[in-house]
Symmetry: C2
């Protein structure tokens, strides 16, 4: 059995790789270079693949200028500091990103005769990112099945096993599976170490605390995140 996993190199997608490895799937990890500031996350895709003897595909997507306006891909828009679930975090939305990634991953799965395409989206993403919600994912998964009918193995499907979980749930699950979270990258700013201030750093710190799981990450400003989540 073969699974194609959308892999950003962060906590969720690392846990996804451990999850499907534990279930006995051969893995193909698909990373995307779409001009994101934090392109260094792709190094972690390779590192996670090495831990699972997985294949990797890095997809070059030169669509940065076409999908303009996001803080993640535009030099003109700053990455906002603060808690993930704030209105300001909408600046980090890349238009239709998950659909684009899932469509290409599904194409790769069809070419590779894989059984499953999976993504690590979770409930904490729902507030800001409409393309992480079941209202998007469920009909999308249905479309991918129908759109490749006759060209996929029996039972071919898309899965988002964490879509109703919190990020803390993922950290707990990953900890039980033995995920090495030191080999993951979250920070949207893409500096030398995690900033501790951007939405995804704050969310990462909060998840480890809520899950009561050891956080191996070195942050530039962990105190900022602790203040944001009311523990400062």
């Amino acid at each position: 059995m073969k699974a194609v996993l959308i892999t950003s190199g962060g906590m969720d997608s690392a846990t996804l790789a451990w999850h499907y490895d534990a279930l006995g799937y051969d893995l193909i990890l698909v990373g995307f270079d779409y001009g994101q500031r934090h392109r260094r996350e792709l190094e972690y895709v390779h590192a996670i693949a090495a831990q699972h003897n997985a294949e990797t595909r890095i997809v070059q997507l030169p669509i940065r200028d076409l999908l303009h306006g996001s803080a993640l891909t535009s030099d003109d828009v700053d990455v906002p500091d603060g808690h993930y679930a704030q209105e300001t975090m909408k600046a980090t939305v890349v238009p239709n990103r998950n659909a684009i990634m899932l469509s290409i991953a599904t194409g790769i799965a069809v070419a590779e005769n894989a059984d499953i395409v999976a993504t690590g989206v979770h409930a904490g993403d729902h507030f800001i990112y409409p393309d992480c919600r079941p209202a998007f994912f469920d009909p999308f998964a249905q479309a991918m099945k129908a759109g490749n009918e006759g060209f996929t193995p029996p039972g071919f499907r898309l899965e988002a096993p964490f879509i109703t979980w919190t990020k803390a749930d993922i950290a707990k699950h990953g900890d039980a599976l033995g995920v090495d979270y030191a080999t993951t990258w979250s920070c949207y700013k893409g500096g030398d170490i995690h900033c501790g201030r951007c939405g995804t750093c704050v969310e990462r710190i909060e998840a480890f605390i809520e899950a009561d799981v050891h956080d191996p990450t070195v942050y530039e400003d962990r105190a900022f995140a602790l203040a944001e989540i009311g523990l400062g």
Copy 2:
């Protein structure tokens, strides 16, 4: 009102441009360079845009090796000659192509605050291409709406106005709208002139005949197509 149209430069997408121009939309025509043999179709995207004072976006998609195995993108697989609705034409399927194109076009539409994303798929595509069928398109359109909720104008939607039409219906509709079919390209082989032998050339010739519309195209081997459709 603004519409983003998937544009291959063929009969269907040219008619689509005329259709939405007649309905009063400002147009953005999106073409894709995915390593197809018939990359020259992209010249026709620009030509059609010029006829409508439309903007164009050509998306570079270096996914040819990732979505291997199609006659359209692989030097190792020949483009089959014959009628479009034959099993052999399955060699021309590019895995999940329409979903990939529609996802990126939707991302562009969101970035451009457009009201509509449209594609010229039609009933003649249904037999070979599962990603041209309503069973794919309807849930996909629903997913695109939900996946970009809050980031699109009211009434934002995907449309496939020809999805239940034959290609002859499209030719008739386009003829009435004044489409200049000399400025369109269909042939999958991408030579200097249309070959007249590949599935899409045969289908093109058949559509003009069935619609009783003048075919301005010069073909290398029109006799082959006529024999295939029982008029030889």
